[in-house]
Subunit: 221 residues, 2 copies
């Protein structure tokens, strides 16, 4: 019983910070997207290429979550966008308190949209509320098309599923239709964008969705 009580306390504390983040973002009219995937699916490359593509249209800031190193924040800053690196020092996901800290480090009054790049982990960050406007799942084709069935939690909650590295489709046996059908089984509202952040293929549809989101300040229908 004790375990349950403690977990509840920790989750209540997280929920308080998540609610504060949500109020802060709503007051600032800032959409905030929590990007979740396995390590190495291409989250940082997607964000860097998205920032480049939307330059002059949508001003983007990034909260970078990593267990160690500031490799990712440095990659983002090369695009000219502001980035705040949070090191979780072993923890497998960002907490709402860490996001709250980072939100106050970013120049939010000069931004139209915020990305949170969570720690590379398809499991643990899925259920935790950070106060974000929506969750974005990234699945890269070399990971295999069985992942929505095997790791349903994030795919059930994501507003968007980016299927990345479609430039590697020919080298593998990833079936986009199968992966998409498995996502829709558990999440009828999900938008699926097959993309290659590397080659740029499919990125314009994703960027259009973001532009609409930044303009409307809500998740596009």
């Amino acid at each position: 019983m004790r375990k349950v009580i403690v977990e509840k306390k920790i989750l209540v504390a997280n929920e308080e910070f998540a609610n504060k983040n949500r109020e802060f973002l709503t007051a600032k009219k800032l959409p905030c997207l929590n990007v979740i995937s396995s390590p190495g699916s291409g989250k940082t490359t997607i964000l860097a290429k998205t920032i480049e593509a939307l330059k002059g249209k949508v001003r983007i800031g990034v909260i970078e979550g990593d267990i160690q190193t500031d490799i990712d924040a440095r990659r983002i800053r090369k695009t000219g966008a502001p980035a705040c690196q949070i090191n979780t020092e072993g923890a497998c996901h960002l907490s709402a308190a860490q996001v709250s800290f980072a939100l106050h480090k970013l120049p939010v009054d000069t931004l139209d949209l915020i990305f949170i790049e969570n720690v590379g982990n398809l499991v643990c960050p899925s259920a935790l509320d950070l106060g974000e406007t929506a969750k974005i799942a990234v699945l890269s084709t070399p990971e295999g098309d069985d992942k929505p069935a095997k790791y349903p939690a994030i795919f059930a909650r994501a507003a968007v599923v980016l299927i990345n590295k479609i430039d590697l489709l020919a080298a593998g046996d990833f079936n986009i239709e199968k992966a998409g059908a498995d996502v829709f089984k558990i999440n009828k509202k999900a938008k699926i964008f097959p993309v290659s952040a590397k080659t740029g293929q499919g990125m314009s549809a994703w960027c259009d969705w973001l532009e609409e989101m930044a303009a409307k300040k809500e998740i596009p229908a």
Copy 2:
């Protein structure tokens, strides 16, 4: 303070099961390898191809850990090897208690070696003792060569690091020497085998290591 006490209790309970597993495996003279990686790095394919390659030499059994589905156990059983599927139903790693249950389901007296395929997660399973003889890390080349620096926990503890999907090296910018150097910085004893489970390249060196392990009943020097 309460959180610390509870976590300690859970870890003590896990350690008790881990110690029992270790005693059981030692009594049966069965090496047991706990395979850890991100989702989609190719763990199941490596195991299936390894079982095929060692047929008639090393009799292998597999404990399959997944959040949901029995896709992986079914893939392993197609090779003729016995496999026990454990569904963690949301949990991000296998526990020593689950491994204990599975060890008693497998026909251990007919086996020379056991693989545990952990839940796809580069973070959470790294620190947890399951009573295994050694941990094996898998890193696939599309994930990027920065992963040992960004997710050091598993690479610091692994007896072997398999760098998988080297057939995709030409399609990306993964630098095996850089990844290897980052592993050796935190783990001087690690054996690194670059492999492609798909094409078979490099698999014989890894299989030789396993054959030696199964013969000696300990981690080869």
